[in-house]
């Protein structure tokens, strides 16, 4: 699904952001990119979404040679990728519904499709009741859930998340992770850059660790740092808020299944002691 081959990115001024990176991400995988600030996580995300082109090496995304793609074809590539950012990037003058619908309008979906799809995705992220609110009327966690809904509404093959929980408290973060996990289970490949130890350690998914622009570890079912004792995974929070069916999932192997999304309050009690602020 994603393949980097000897990808090196040198920014203007000679700063080497990533150097000689090679890895594969298969369809349906959930991958954490971890490492301290400046280690190159964001640059990798930007290379994958073709916001940047590598100085050397190649990037393939969703069967396309992203690093060689002519710029007029980039929009098409982006439609197979959903992106979530640390700062949500919501439009302040649009409601929750409109923000999510925007992603469909932009790609030319029919109004009837938009009217049926947006509520489904809002249900998935547990915001059905707030679809007429504006971003400023929402908490940070809720805004990030809108952003995830927008990234997922077109059922992308790949979901990229750059520090999606960076601005959120640990409890709220767990809520976001539940949703990303749910999305991943529909067959969507998820790549998430983070330096949130608790989340990485709790999820036990593939971890690619970066240090000064190089891959220093690539481990299936990894934790944030190998030197640390892996903490015990938190107990699964009980289903509380919304039971949703994710329809029309892209992956063939995943049948629509009921989804449970915990609300923030419940999630918070589950992990609040976990956060080790390193």
């Amino acid at each position: 699904m994603i393949r980097l081959e000897n990808a090196t990115k040198v920014y203007d001024g000679g700063v080497v952001a990533v150097k000689d990176i090679t890895f594969d991400v298969n369809k349906g995988e959930f991958v954490f990119l971890v490492g301290p600030s400046g280690s190159g996580k964001s640059t990798l995300i930007r290379l994958i979404m073709r916001e940047e082109q590598p100085t050397h090496g190649d990037v393939w995304v969703a069967g396309k040679h992203a690093s060689r793609l002519p710029s007029w074809k980039v929009p098409h590539l982006r439609r197979s990728i959903g992106t979530v950012f640390q700062d949500y990037k919501l439009l302040p003058n649009k409601t929750v519904f409109e923000n999510v619908a925007f992603a469909m309008e932009v790609t030319g979906k029919r109004p009837s499709v938009i009217r049926s799809q947006v509520p489904q995705v809002l249900k998935l992220v547990g915001l059905s009741a707030k679809s007429d609110r504006y971003p400023r009327q929402l908490s940070g966690g809720e805004q990030q859930r809108v952003s995830v809904a927008r990234a997922f509404v077109n059922r992308p093959l790949i979901l990229l998340a750059d520090e999606p929980t960076g601005n959120l408290d640990p409890g709220t973060s767990v809520g976001i992770m539940r949703i990303l996990d749910r999305i991943n289970r529909t067959g969507t490949t998820v790549v998430m850059a983070t330096h949130d130890h608790a989340i990485v350690d709790a999820m036990r998914r593939r971890v690619i660790q970066l240090d000064r622009g190089r891959v220093v570890r690539d481990e299936a079912r990894g934790v944030y740092e190998t030197v640390q004792e892996a903490p015990v995974a938190e107990p699964p929070p009980p289903p509380v808020v919304a039971e949703v069916e994710v329809e029309e999932v892209r992956s063939e192997e995943t049948a629509p299944e009921p989804v449970t999304v915990p609300d923030d309050a419940t999630a918070e009690t589950a992990v609040v002691d976990e956060g080790d602020q390193a």
Partner: protein
């Protein structure tokens, strides 16, 4: 269809959202195009008036009394065949006398002399040049022709009028051109600000995978719409102003004619409108071309 709706909606909501900036752009276009169109119309008024004057330019060749009618007819035919001559009229002594009586009606002393010696008023050939500029050539060619008493024209006055006419023509064109360029720059600047105001939205659109034309079209549409509205206002303003000038300024000297023919107004008005739209398109394209938020 949904895309077309979306783009129209975007163009209009953006105009609403940045009402002040948009109003500024429309006013800027309106003012520049009013000046441009006004300049064209004023230029046309000057032209029609100088055309009237140019029609009236004559070289007068006085004919000696002893010349036979046959010789006058021959000379007249010859002069008329010259390239720089449009027309030749013969004014007989009798006609010239009538003319002089009208001309000097207010000067009893002169009138008395004329009435006492009707013979002193000479017959003449009145020669209309193809272009007023040609008068001097005609004068030179006629000089020394047997049978002619004296060749006369309003030399320096004609030269001054020609210089004035050509100078005004060039000035008007330069002015219209400069004002047109100003209109484009002002529209470009407005669109630039509109894009800056929406840079977040544009960034998000690009991240979501909006195609380039999808991002750009609302801005192009907005630009041309602003150009069109400014243009319509400008044309309306000038048409009304011109009509009012014709209606109100009735005590002008007779030889000044403010009326402009309708075809000219329609033709140039349409041109100004087209120019407004083009200015909007060019302005917004220029702005889009340099804008970093739109680069991929």
């Amino acid at each position: 269809m949904t895309r077309v709706n979306y783009i129209l909606k975007e163009a209009f909501t953006n105009i609403g959202r940045n009402a002040l900036v948009v109003l500024g752009a429309i006013l800027a276009v309106f003012i520049s195009l009013t000046l441009t169109f006004g300049t064209l119309v004023f230029g046309e008024v000057v032209r029609t008036n100088t055309v009237q004057w140019a029609e009236d330019v004559r070289v007068i060749a006085f004919v000696r009394d002893e010349v036979t009618p046959q010789a006058i007819a021959d000379l007249s035919t010859e002069v008329e065949s010259w390239d720089e001559v449009r027309d030749v009229f013969f004014v007989s002594k009798a006609d010239a006398l009538d003319e002089a009586r009208v001309l000097f009606a207010n000067q009893p002393a002169v009138l008395r002399v004329i009435n006492e010696n009707p013979d002193i008023v000479p017959a003449s050939l009145r020669i209309q040049p193809e272009d007023p500029k040609d008068y001097s050539t005609i004068v030179v060619r006629l000089e020394g022709t047997p049978g002619l008493e004296k060749v006369q024209s309003a030399g320096p006055a004609i030269d001054a009028m020609i210089a004035l006419r050509d100078g005004l023509r060039i000035m008007f064109w330069l002015l219209a051109l400069a004002l047109g360029v100003a209109a484009v720059a002002l529209i470009a600047n407005t669109i630039h600000m509109a894009i800056y105001a929406r840079r977040e939205e544009i960034e998000i659109m690009r991240l979501i995978g909006a195609s380039s034309w999808f991002v750009r079209t609302p801005f192009l549409l907005e630009g041309s719409l602003e150009g069109l509205i400014g243009g319509v206002l400008a044309v309306a303003f000038i048409v009304i102003a011109q009509q009012m000038a014709v209606d109100r300024l009735t005590d002008l000297p007779e030889w000044i004619n403010l009326a402009v023919n309708n075809d000219f107004m329609i033709e140039r008005g349409a041109l100004v409108l087209l120019f407004g739209v083009l200015a909007g398109l060019v302005g917004s394209s220029l702005s889009l071309a340099v804008h970093r938020y739109l680069r991929t």
